[in-house]
Every structure is written in structure tokens, then in C-alpha cells.
Symmetry: D3
Subunit: 244 residues, 6 copies
């Protein structure tokens, strides 16, 4: 099975890291195909950049689908709290999995309530909104910010782990979470450290999404085309491309 | 005062119609500046096209702001149930008004519950989602589809009015709505006919948004920059442009 | 256009202050007509006094409507978190605007969540209840009390501003509000001071309500008479009047 | 124990009927003291009349409390879906029971969901709002109108029963209610007929409220005075009285 | 009238204490019949034990009903936040009252919001879940744990009261509760001490449930048999019994 | 990996059918270990039987865990809308998956809203309640009953498919569902027929649960033990066993 994993930003090293995390959990017969969008921000932290990412990912996946020699079986959008999953669902016949939703759905199997620990304070409302739309907010205890930007996450691993552990602990003790979701596609490698420090299960969205995508494919299930996610109607569209 | 009114699709005649509706209600000192996006769909009916519209409008407004000789005081995004308002709010210091939200907020002053009557069945969930995110769904009785596409709306005015009246009547009698919002930027001229046939107030989003934008400007109020809608952080962004 | 602005208490100097705030934002062609009820409390702080105010305002507006030489175009009920708006809507054909709702609706255009900062702790539940009924509580982060009574508000402006800034700051930092509504008709003149100290938009209900009322009149919209706010049915009613 | 039962309208024969219903279920040591307000409508069907009733009941109970030779132990406000209970709670140290809430709370012990069947269509939103404020709407399947006015209820008993049975049956079969609340103080005597015809428990608000009031008195419980329902603060109030 | 009061654990002294509390408030013609289950835990603190209790109580009540010489009129399940009430409702024609729900419904008559103060932190989610299912969570301010286990409650009365008062005070001041429910069947005797220390009404579930059960019997009301709580269908069932 | 799949009723042929469905989707290295409870009902249709099932499954799994030579990696409770999952989570260190929740979580990836089509009308509220507790009801369009009992499902396959298709079609067209969950453990083999007739994705709980369980094991995730699902505290428990 081939699963496309679309990074939401234009930073190739992040695409590589996400692909590596995905491969670490993927089944032996699963091929992970990483995608980097042609336009947008080097890191996505806010609505404007997230909307750019949504369109850039949709265009990248469209382009890949039109030119790839081999078909693919599922797509993962590897941005936490980002816009766009619904557009991919319209464009494709294969299942689409957003890592925000995969993490939350997975967390709900593991405890009475879960929290998300993310990067900057300004991204908290985006995540809250995506969970609300996805129907996954009733058991969300809180979304908390570590205060670190996406690019800062990788600069000093110890500082990053300390910040995530601090907010996770507050989530568990103050907000009564019992499970933590790491709220950024670039936090995949940190789950074990946070789990050890807090004693609660820690869910990474990318790896959770890989197992969800594989599951949907194995179950022979894909997006309903009856209404919301029907293919776009034929019409005249001017496509966006990356400026030179 | 100058108010930008951004059409969400690339059809210039629709931009003209929206601008005319806006001007009909604008105050004597208000200049309406219409904007047509450089890329996207000729009509927006679904998530993929709506995401394209969101980015195209944001790029068009950014471009206008960077090059216009005169400043503007507010922006209206004239698409019903479309993505993107949050991105504009980050990019601008002036207030941003989405017509979906302006219509619903206005309707709430007029009756115990309101319904939206829109175009195609597939756009109903988009409108529901925008109202949910905007915190305006508690008093929404229903969102109903007329079954007519955006482009069909103008083909046969009698058929269009008949379809809107049929669904509005069902909304009033079956869903217990007391006010109707016309759920498409291109329905502005039809409000009076629907009001006459149903006997309930009918709100058009474009005209409602003009009065909201003027009100915010007169009150000296604009988007909070404290968290969610802070300006994008400085970073490397590859911009999308229209393909040739 | 003539807009009635009804104070909810019997203190004439407050009526004057509310009228002055309303006039400061009203359009050049708008006449503000202040109304003071004939019975009720000198300041309204609780349910019993609020119910008295509801009836006193309804009776005062009825009386004005029956005897005024000139018609009026809209009515504003200038009490924050008070009962009664629905009764006025039944009695009148012109639009009715409650300042609690005008402030909240206006705030929702400006940020992801808003808080209300009001007078005494005991009035917090009244405001929460009115927002719940109005369908405006989903994005309300909190209602906070300054601890000052209505009559204390004007005694020491510095103390009042300090109390409002203290609670507004807690609302922004702790409750994650991005906009503040001043929760008392008598706080109109303090918005700028709170905005300067907190850096977030501050909405005053009276001025917001004036722009809403003007907008509804310009849009030709008024209360739906189809069900909830139909005129009272003809029946025998013994009217209340002020005791001598 | 002495329980005041306040009719919300000025029709003395209704007060008598309500008192008779209350006495039929009251314990042997309970004295029912009926109260008729001095002003307001002969029957209450809408917000304006309901606000009049709220104040008239509060004034009547205040007046009774000030002049009665014997104290009373609880007060029942015998109007369905009417404003005012909160004001009585502030004025009194003894428990206050609203029949809308007593019926709903009682119904919740008897089935998974309940419906209310009331008089006119226009009163449905008032009942919905009171249940929402009371925190009793989560298990409310529907509020349905029989189409009969308060005064019509008693004109033709067979027609009334038929209308109530028709709506109750729709509530059970279509809305999935399992219990019916009769939504008018004047329907007390009809519960058994509706129960026989529908096969589900039928709750009358007046009789339910009597048992609730007696229970609270026996448990030694009364309204919390810590915040919302603290006594009104001392201040200058002009009282309303009935016009002559 | 005879009311069965079923303890949820196997500790006979607790059954005695619960029966004593019930008798203290029961009417002169009410006989309280205590029931102790034949299997399950000596104290119930968690889901596994609560499920055991649910079945053990159902089997005990079935057994009693099959063998008792005199019929009974109502059943109270005297466990706070425990599973099982719905099963009893299917098995019996007489009303069933859960003390969690009786306490919350009673508290809602007494203040704008209520909190529950219970034993161990781990039981908080069980109580929250039962209130959610019962449609009684909208006005629940919080469920707080004293940190004392069921068996510790009786070891040191002063320590117990101090812990309950500490959490009750936090509930009132921080969570804005106005009424406290004591969240354990074994706390009946402590209500007065907590009320004195906090100044707010304190509701005990067992005594509240007795008055609710008596009220339902007097009103001639019992569980609806139309759908959810219809009697079990005839089928082959292997019964559980206590191991030897 | 070894996954226990616990039937909730005592009918061995159903256990076999569930195990066969599970094996059909399980990975090549997954061993499915079926469990049949020692007591309870031959089919579970209502709360009393569901509570029996909850305890019987917990006792059966405890017993298996205590005596099995090989450990197991996850447990699936294969009853739709049944009580008990929380108790298993306390007893075990390995993940526990309820098929009701697995089906709903899976459906949410596939469409904007989903419906459940189940057996008898009386089981609808049980499923609604489980979805509410699980935080999965926000996007549930409806739970509909086919009118067939568990044992009737297998008697006439054509009739069963016809009934499921009828209700599924109503769910899609009337309730606006876009995905159908088959709401009974015994419907596994019917998904394809319903999908063909309706054109929307159809999710079976047992097969969905197998992929969820495998995913959790592969991700190294299990139930949080921090609060709600901590192991039962040591105490004296009398165990239930099957009567002879």
C-alpha cells in the first residue's frame, strides 16, 4: 500500500522528518511517499499561512495524482490544526487523514479526557476550531501552548522536552487530562520522553495517522461521495502556482 | 470611508452585482471598492474551491493594500459559508466582515431562530461549519438548499424565487425559523420577493455586512491583535500566483 | 431617524449619560430620544430589580408610543444583562436592540473570544443567562465582576478604571479573551482607558447598539411577527403604574 | 406547612382551579394559600404578559409576606414557561418552585426523554427558553403546541383532550419522548385522560411543584443566598401598583 | 408506603447508616426497607466495582420482589455516581430514584449552579458521566474530590468535615457554585456541618431521594414503559450469584 | 499479537461469527481469541441485560487473564451500545476497544456526519448514551432502529438487508448522514450489501475495532492509569459466578 504524507510547509527537512516518523510505524508492505508543497510558508503558525498550506497541499496532491505512475491508497495531511482536509477529501477517492483528528481519535481510546500540547499560543485557537469541526472537542480537556515556535522545536531538544513536559503536567493535574497529544507534526520523536516524564500515554499525530490510514485501506473504506465531499463540479478554474 | 468588498470567485459580473448591492445600502460617504481574485473558480461550491477562494482573496487584498494609493477602512469577504476570514484578519489592521456571519448576527436581532436558504445541497455543511466556528449556530434552525447552483441562480429569476420561497416556507413552518438569511452572495436582489411571499424578515449578507463594517469603523473598533489574529510572524513564504 | 434609548433605572442623570454616549456615535440624521422609566430601582443589580425594569421600560415605551407626536424607528434597551427585550419586541413594529447582545455581537467580529467585565458579582449570572438565551455564549470566555456597584462606578473614576483593567487583564491572560465588553450601561466613557491599558478592543454596549439600530433601520429590517414576537393577543389587562 | 401558590394571571377562577389541584395532592398538614396578582393579563400568552406577571407575582408575594399574620414555608409560581422565578428567590428566604421546572425535573425520573405539550405556538419558545436557563433541556425531546389558547382550554374538554393527545402521540412517536409534561397551569385535571390515551406517564406542573415544595421544606433546604439570589441591596425603589 | 433503599456495597453497617438517614426524613407512613447486595465490593470506588454493584443491586431487588410478602412502592439506589439505575427501571413497575440524580435535581431548585464534593479523585469522572447522561450537567459547576476513600470517611469525622468544607469552599469561590451536593451515600450525617461552615445549602442524596420517591408515589407516577425502560424481553438468561 | 474478542451474550454461535468477522480483517500475525461470558442473556437488548453482560465480560476476561498461558495484547468488547468498557479498562494494562466507539471514530474519517442503524427501537437510547459518553455524538446524525431483534437478524437475510437499507436510506436522505455504522455485533457480514444499495460507506464495528486494537498495539499505546482507569484498589470483593 502507498500512503502519501503531505507536509504543510515548504521546509524539506521537515518533510523528511515526518516521513521518517511515518515509516517507523508503517507496516512492512506500506510505502510512505512524502510530499512538500510548492508554495506557502517555511513553517505554518497561524491562519493565513494555514490557508496557504491548505491550497498548496491540495495542488501538490492533485499534481502528484495526475502525474504519478503508480496510484496511491491514502493521503495524510501532516499539519496540526491546519485548514484543508475537506478539500483533499473532495479531490480524491482514497481516504484522507488529518493528523489532528487521528491523534484526538486515538487519544479518546486511552483515557477519559485528553489535552493537546502545541507550539505557540496563537495556534491554540486553530487547533480548538479543528477539533470542534471534527466533533472531537467534547472530551478535550485543554489545548496548551509550549511557547516554542515550530522552528525552535528542533534547536534545543532538552528545552523543548522540558516545555512539553511542563505543559503536559499542567494539563494532567489542572485540566484533568489523562492522555497528551503532541500538537505539531514536528514533535514525533518526543513522545517517549514526555510519556516517561508524565506517566500518561502520549500520542503523536503522524504515527497515529499512519495506522488510521492503513486501517481504512484494509477495511476497504473511503470518503463518502454522497454530499459534502462529492468531487468538485466541472467548471472553469484558474489554478494557483508558486511565484518565481 | 472606503470598504473593500471581495468577491470569492473569478466572475467579474458577480463582483459587479455584489458591489451594486453594497452601494445600494452604503452611507453617502462610503466608497465601495470591489475586488475580484486572480485565481480560483468561476463560482464557489464546495471545500476545494472555497479554499482556493480563501487564498485568492487574501492574496488579492494583500496586493491591493501594497499598491493602492489610498488606504481602506474595512474589508468584506462576500462569499457565503466560505473559508478564509481568519486569514484576512491576521493580514490587516482594519476590520474584516464575513457575510455569513453578518447575516446571522443581523438575523438574531429579528427573531427567536433563523434559517439559511442557500444553493446546492453540498454547500449546506460548509455553512453549518462556518456558523459553528463563529459561535452563531445555537439559534440557527436549519440550513436548507434550494438545489440551484450559483450560476443557475441568475438564469431564471422566477424559478429562483420560487425555490427560495419554497425552502423558506419549510424553514418557517417545519424548522420554526422566524427569519431567513439568503445564503449566497449572489442572492442580494431577491430578498424583497422572498419577504413578501413568506411574511418574515429576509436578510441578505452583503448589505448586512456593509452596515456592520461601517458600524465598526464608526465605533473605532478593529480586530484584536493579542493572539489569534496577530500579524503573521516574519518568515520565508513562497507566494501563489495565477497560472498563465 | 429617531431612536428611543430606554434607561432601565429611575435615575435621570444616568439617562442623560447614556443619551450623551448614544449621541456621540449616532449619525448626523439620527435623533436620540431618552426614556426614563416611571417605576423601579435607582440602579438595577439583580433579578427582582431587573424584572421591575423590564416592565417599567415596556410601560414607558408603550406610553411614549401612544402619545408621541412623531414616530420612532428603533428602540434600545440600555441595561446590561437585564430582562425584558422580548416583551418590547412583541409590543413594537420597529427593531429592538438590547445592549448586552449588541456588545457581544460586535465583539464577535473582533476576536476569537470575548469577555464581559461588569459591576457586582451577583450580576454575573444574569449576564451569562442573557447571553445563553441570545445564542451568544459559545464564544464568551468569561463574565467577570469588578466588585463595584452601579452607583460606585462614577464616584472615583481612577478606582473604576483600575478595577476594570484588572479584570480585563485577567480575562485576556487567564480566560483567553481577545475582546472586552464593558458590562454596564454606565461604563460608556471608560472604554478608551481600558483599551489603552490592555491593548485589546473594548466594546461599549450603548454605542454598539446605536450602530446596530441604525443599521437595521437602513436595511429596512424589523422584528419577525410570525411567532414568538407576534403582537399580544387582545385581552383584558390591568396595567401597572408607579405608586405615588 | 403553608405553601403559597401564585397564579400568574388575574383570573380568579383559574386561581381557584390551581389551588384545588394543589390541594388534591398536598399532604394532610399542608395548607395551600392561593395568590392572585393585582395587575397583568387575564391569561398569559407571550413575553410582554409574562413580564407583567413576573412583577405582579413578586409584588403580590411581597405584599402578602409583609401583611400576613402567619408565615409561609414555600412559594410556587404556577405559570408554565413564565418569567420571574429568580426575582422571587431574591425576595424570599423560603424555597421557590416554578411549575415548568418541577414538571421537567419530575419527568426526568420517569423516562429517557420528555416532551411538553402546551397551548399556543407562540408560547413554545418561552418554554424552551425557561428549560434552557434551568439546565433542563438536554433531555427535552420537544415542546409542542396544541393550538388552543389558555381560555379555550376549558371551553370544550373533549376538544382539549383530543388536541393534547394528538400532540402527545406525535411527541412519543416522532420526537421519541417517553413522558409528557402538560405545559399550562390550567391543564391539571387532564393528565389522567392523556395518560390513558397515550400509555405514557403524564406530569402536571402544579401537582409536581407541590411535592417538590413539601420535599424542600422537609429537607430543611432553601435558596442559596451566596450570590445570584442574595436579597436585593437597599436602595430607592418606586413600586408599581395596579392602575385604577 | 414501602421504599426499598439499596446499598451498592456489601458492607452491612453502611446499609444501616443509609437506612437510618432515609428514615430520618421519611414520612410517618413510609417504611424504609434496606437492601444489601450479595456480591460486589465492600466499598465502591471505580467502574469495575460500580458495574458489579449495578448487577448485584438488580439481582438483589429482583430476588426481593420475587419473595417478599408485601409489595413495595419505590426503589432508591443509594450509590453516588454508580451505574445501574436504568436496569432497575426495566425490571420494575415502581419508580426508581438514583441518589446522584435526586441530589442534583434538588440542588437545581436552590441556586444558579451546584457542585458535587465526593471521595477519591478517580470517582469524579463517574459522577460527571452520570450527570451528563441524566441531563443534569448544564448547571453543574464542578465535581471535586476530598481525597478520602469511602472507608476513610467514617474514621475521623473532623478530618472528613474539614476536607469537605475545604473543597466546598473552593467550589463556591472558584467554581461559582451556590449549592453543594455531598457525593457519597455515606456522607448523609455531614450535611449540616458543611452548611454551617460554608453558608450555602448542602444536599444529601439519600434524604433527597427519599422525598423524591415519596413524591412520585403520591403523584401516581412511575417509569415509562414505552421504549427505553420496557420490561426485558423473554429470553434465556443465566443468572449470576455470589461465589461461595 | 493476540487480541481477545469478547462477545457480550452467551450464545456461542454468535461468538463464532464475531470471531470469524474479526479474523477476516486481522493482520497475518494477529491471533483472535474469542471469549463467551459464563452468565447473562442469550442476546443483549436493553439495560438490564447489558449490565449483566458488562459484568460477565469483565469476569470472563479476568478469569482468562488469570489462567491463560500466553498473554494478550488488547481486548475488544463486541457489543454495540453496551455498558462495561470502562470496567475492563481498569482491570487491564492492555488497550480496550468498544465496537460502538470504533465504528463511530472510523465513520468520522469518512463523511461529515454518520448514522447508526441498529436492531430494536429500545436499544436506540443505549447507543445514543454510549456515544454521548464517548464524546462521539456531535457528528452523529441519528440512531435508527430496523425493528429486528438480534436473533431475528440471522433468520432471513433478505429481510434483514431490506430493513437495514430502508433505515440507512432514511438516514442519508432525511437525517443527512453520509456514512452508516451497522449497530450490532451480529451485522458484520451485511456491510457490503448495505453499501451497494445506498452508495455510502458502511462501517462494521467488529472489523473496525480489530484495526483500532492492532493500531494501538503497534503504536505502543495503552489505557492511561493516572485517574479514571487506575487499577481497582485492594479491597474485599465477593465475586459473581454463573448460577447452576
Amino acid at each position: 500500500m502507498r500512503i502519501l504524507v503531505a507536509n504543510v510547509n515548504t521546509t524539506g527537512s521537515m518533510t523528511d522528518a515526518i516521513a521518517a516518523a511515518a515509516r517507523a510505524v508503517a507496516g512492512p508492505d506500506t510505502e510512505i511517499v512524502p510530499i512538500t508543497p510548492a508554495f506557502g510558508a517555511e513553517s505554518v503558525e497561524g491562519n493565513h499561512e494555514s490557508y496557504l498550506a491548505a491550497v498548496a497541499v491540495q495542488e501538490a496532491v492533485r499534481s502528484y495524482a495526475a502525474t504519478a505512475e503508480e496510484p496511491f491508497d491514502a493521503v495524510i495531511q501532516a499539519g496540526y490544526g491546519e485548514h484543508g482536509r475537506e478539500g483533499l477529501q473532495e479531490l480524491l477517492d482514497v481516504p484522507v487523514v488529518d493528523i489532528t483528528e487521528a491523534a484526538a481519535s486515538t487519544a479518546q481510546y486511552l483515557g477519559h479526557r485528553y489535552s493537546v500540547v502545541t507550539t505557540l499560543d496563537r495556534t491554540v485557537p486553530l487547533i480548538e476550531d479543528r477539533l470542534l469541526l471534527a466533533g472531537l472537542s467534547a472530551r478535550c480537556a485543554s489545548v496548551r501552548a509550549s511557547g516554542l515556535s515550530v522552528l525552535e522545536l528542533e534547536q534545543d531538544r532538552d528545552r523543548t522536552v522540558a516545555a512539553l513536559v511542563r505543559e503536559s503536567t499542567l494539563a494532567v493535574e489542572h485540566d484533568r487530562a489523562e492522555v497528551i497529544c503532541l500538537g505539531c507534526g514536528g514533535m514525533a520523536g518526543l513522545a517517549e520522553a514526555v510519556r516517561e516524564a508524565t506517566g500518561v500515554p502520549v500520542v503523536d499525530g503522524v504515527t497515529a495517522a499512519v495506522t488510521v490510514a492503513e486501517s481504512l485501506v484494509r477495511l476497504g473504506l473511503s470518503t463518502s461521495k454522497i454530499r459534502t465531499y462529492a468531487p468538485p463540479r466541472p467548471k472553469r478554474i484558474v489554478r494557483p502556482v508558486a511565484e518565481r
